[in-house]
Symmetry: C2
């Protein structure tokens, strides 16, 4: 039996993983990897940190943990993989099982035979048809050369003003990098919020923090035109007419699957433009697999196909694809719950599963709880976490979890992702046995507390109201009785200043005269995080008030202006 | 209907939680809490950090996140709970539904009626019958006054030498606290390892680190006698005859349930001496519940009753008990997977589920994988994690996970705990969708990588060998061919020096002459973390060697001596 010929198209994340794995599974296989870019195995998620100066060694984006650059010589010696860079694949001949390529240096063309082929062609940045987009100074961040160029601009120090077009994950990471390097940065986002994996009020917390770092955020806005002089960018004109002067604009409005080769070869393509694969990561051609940012995968909650271009999924998909290419139908890939996290200056922010908005769009009847509390005890240097849990009102199944704050968001989202993947209910999380010691968490972990709050809401014991709804109603001229049950010192340090009444919780049982006479009057109680707000609700209801609500997350989750100091 | 009378015995963790929760659920209830100690709601897990000077405000161990001390006035005003401190309950009269108490200050006795009673009497430190244990200078760390006393000794600065008896969680935390405060500390442990929730070779990594901080660790040893002069401790004589001079000895050899009241009242008691409760946290008397360190609970994997005195579980159990006391059989407590974590100087160490040893003791056929790798990319300041995954060989179900290292152990254990609780298999974790960005994790999370290694082992692709077994065989005079496949620079910086042969992985495919001629000779390959060790196995097998093993975790998980430098 002659050696199996495996060809891998693409050398960023999924490609090298598939190639190395396939070679380990079949030591006789001839594995060829064809990569268009000059580099291999780029840690592209690290580009923003390289640009921002978190580290200076460009090669560390391309190196193994022991510092060996993953070039073709490395792939040959350590992995037994024949990797060709600067080699663009131009066509797939499925009948003859060959791919045609061109050496971008020499212009030489070649043909490679395959028994099994895997497409890891990644994604391309969206490029909106905006006038002036070809001006010098408008770029995106997709390839290593983009990172090189942006880092060069940072090092040269001549760019004073930069505009980020798009407030998603990459946009926010680049925003931080350029701000830290001393540029004046503006972010322009078409939608009403940054980071759309968060619900609006959670994203507003991020926006408030970004603004506190000197960044100007334009939401509900877009770029009408890139302005230039002599071919060079000088500013952007926004849809609302504002002009923002800048010498640099980074367009990061998302990516689209790079599925041209697959489409040209007649493979099935999904509604997002990605390659269609089954649970074995196999395309519509049984000899061709695909993995990474060029495919559409299953969403574990909705069961629908989604486009989920994340570096971690690319690796996991590639491993499954390699197993199946070499071993037959050995492994399946169950799909995504859209887990994501990012650093935003002094905050971390992320989500797993469905946001409230998306869950409603998918037809779920939804209950939510917002929880602002600490990540560990105060005496151990506690930091704030603000979270939102989204559950199916009928079954209690946790559909999603979002977390934002200076605290230990990483652990919260990791455990939440496991809960969402496992279809855990609020009751399951209520009694979860998680690792606890004061340097690491509270005795009742923040994620569990969030479940407790949602449990209380679902049982009708706590009646919550979202801060966005409170703000909208106040802006609309409504006058509910807003009750702050914190201590006077807390009030003096920071307060909503929306006409609220201060009655500290400890005084509430004897404060009849300060409360509405009408027992059916709406009372909206809150405190710092709204644990005391909940106690207040229970106390007032026991005393006969019938319409008491708790503003969830308290003042710490309030994403609007607060008054500080005396 | 007259108000329901709820009495809570105990005011540390479970007691206050049960009292406050019950009162919130039933605003009419008369809730009385009786506490023997002068304090309430002590954050006892924080004592070691108070002793070690991580913070100075004693009251922060007793305060809410906003700094209000949880004293009886606080419980009355904020929680509607009648809390009495310095009040010891002496008997329960189940027939008349009363408890008798004595005010430890005035000596006055009293009787309180109950409709529902909950026992949250906690646990007491084990006190071994060792000669000299009553000497001044021998103490334990259980109550607030113990913490006060130890902090006083630290502040006075006169104790030069201290001995910790018992190398469990508390022992190790106190060891760190006293070492940081400048004392010479020795730890004496009867068993062959510290931290018995870890397997031996994982615990040895912790021991090596503790020793590197100047602590003397005596394992397989015990205290034969506390030595004294004039009633004061001057040293300890160990079972092996060694004498260790010291002015302070902290005995921390575990705790036993404080179930005397329950036993005297005729309630069912389990084999560990804890109060027997059902899944509703109800004792053998339908009007009496129990929660916290005085009970035995279900182990979720073995289904057996265990004694699991953890502060987090105490709170969760108390919440369930309160729900059932007030609402009827509303909630169940599913039990524990023994999740635990602790800080050990610059390391974190913890476990969830069963260790390999315990899983074997429980009759499981076990497979394991050890993984030494990084918590995030090298360019983001990666730190090491060493983990061990234990799975059921027949089903692939993950039975346990241990993690030790300077890296982000917290997230690893939290996600592992969720996996263990959910009965996830190695294949489930193989494709888990966890939050990823370079500041937070590797593209393939360390927990997932560990599953991948175990998957490779279970499929027979990787043949692992534990470092403890390698060491034992070398010590026994055996001479397997030990193959280090790292780079020469890595070898020069740090090496096992057990007669190994260095052949860098990249040179292995052409190194026939340096390898054993006998293709059936045993070869044990390793590298820094043993990813390259695994590649080496695959390469050598492809070239005909039949008995190649990978030393799991590589040199980074090697818990014995290594040679450093040239």
């Amino acid at each position: 039996m002659s050696a199996q010929k495996i060809v891998v198209i693409g050398g960023s994340a999924a490609g090298p993983k598939a190639a190395a794995r396939a070679r380990r599974l079949d030591a006789e296989a001839e594995v060829t990897l064809l990569q268009k870019a000059p580099e291999l195995s780029m840690a592209s998620c690290g580009y923003p940190y390289y640009i921002g100066g978190d580290f200076d060694e460009r090669d560390s984006l391309l190196a193994t943990p022991t510092g060996v650059v993953r070039d073709p010589a490395f792939f040959a010696a350590a992995k037994g993989v024949n990797a060709k860079v600067n080699t663009e694949v131009t066509a797939i001949d499925r009948e003859n099982r060959t791919v045609s390529g061109i050496d971008l240096g020499s212009g030489e063309t070649s043909t490679v035979e395959y028994d099994k082929l895997i497409l890891c062609t990644g994604a391309n940045p969206r490029r909106p048809p905006i006038p002036g987009i070809d001006l010098d100074g408008v770029c995106s961040l997709s390839e290593m050369r983009d990172a090189d160029r942006l880092r060069g601009l940072v090092d040269a120090g001549r760019v004073k003003n930069a505009v980020i077009v798009g407030g998603g994950l990459i946009g926010i990471e680049v925003c931080e990098a350029l701000t830290k390097s001393g540029m004046n940065v503006s972010v322009v986002e078409m939608l009403s919020q940054l980071l759309t994996f968060l619900d609006w009020e959670m994203a507003k917390l991020v926006e408030k923090h970004v603004a506190s770092k000197g960044v100007t955020v334009h939401t509900d806005n877009g770029v009408a035109e890139f302005l230039g002089e002599g071919g060079k960018l000088t500013g952007v004109r926004l849809k609302d007419g504002t002009t923002v002067p800048c010498e640099l604009a980074v367009v990061s409005i998302g990516v689209v699957p790079n599925a041209d080769l697959a489409r040209d070869a007649g493979l099935a393509i999904g509604s997002f433009g990605g390659v269609t694969v089954d649970e074995y990561m196999r395309t519509s051609d049984p000899n061709i697999y695909a993995a990474g940012d060029c495919v559409e995968i299953n969403h574990r909650i909705t069961g629908k196909k989604v486009f989920a271009p994340y570096g971690d999924l690319a690796n996991l998909e590639a491993r499954v694809a390699a197993d199946n290419m070499v071993l037959g139908d050995a492994r399946t890939f169950p799909g995504t719950v859209n887990s994501g996290i990012c650093k935003v200056f002094d905050l971390s922010a992320g989500a797993t599963g469905l946001s409230e908005r998306r869950a409603r769009d998918e037809g779920f009847e939804v209950v939510t709880a917002t929880n602002a509390s600490l990540d560990r005890p105060g005496f151990m240097g506690a930091r704030l976490l603000v979270s939102k849990m989204v559950a199916d009102a009928r079954t209690g199944r946790i559909l999603g979890f979002q977390c934002v704050g200076p605290g230990e968001v990483n652990r919260q989202l990791a455990e939440a992702a496991m809960a969402v993947m496992n279809g855990n209910t609020v009751l399951d999380v209520n009694t979860a046995d998680l690792p606890y010691a004061p340097p690491f968490s509270l005795a009742i972990d923040h994620f569990i507390t969030t479940a407790h709050i949602l449990d209380n809401k679902m049982c009708g014991r706590m009646t919550g109201i979202g801060n966005a709804e409170v703000k909208a109603r106040l802006d609309n001229g409504e006058k509910p009785f807003i009750l702050d049950v914190r201590a006077p010192g807390e009030f003096e340090a920071m307060r909503l200043n929306v006409g609220e009444t201060l009655i500290p919780l400890g005084a509430l049982r004897n404060a009849q005269d300060k409360l509405p006479v009408d027992k059916d009057a709406e009372i909206i109680a809150f405190c710092k995080i709204s644990m005391r707000g909940y106690e207040a609700q229970r106390i007032l209801e026991a005393r006969g008030w019938t319409n008491v609500k708790v503003m969830e997350g308290g003042i710490m989750a309030w994403p609007f202006h607060v008054d500080m100091g005396r």
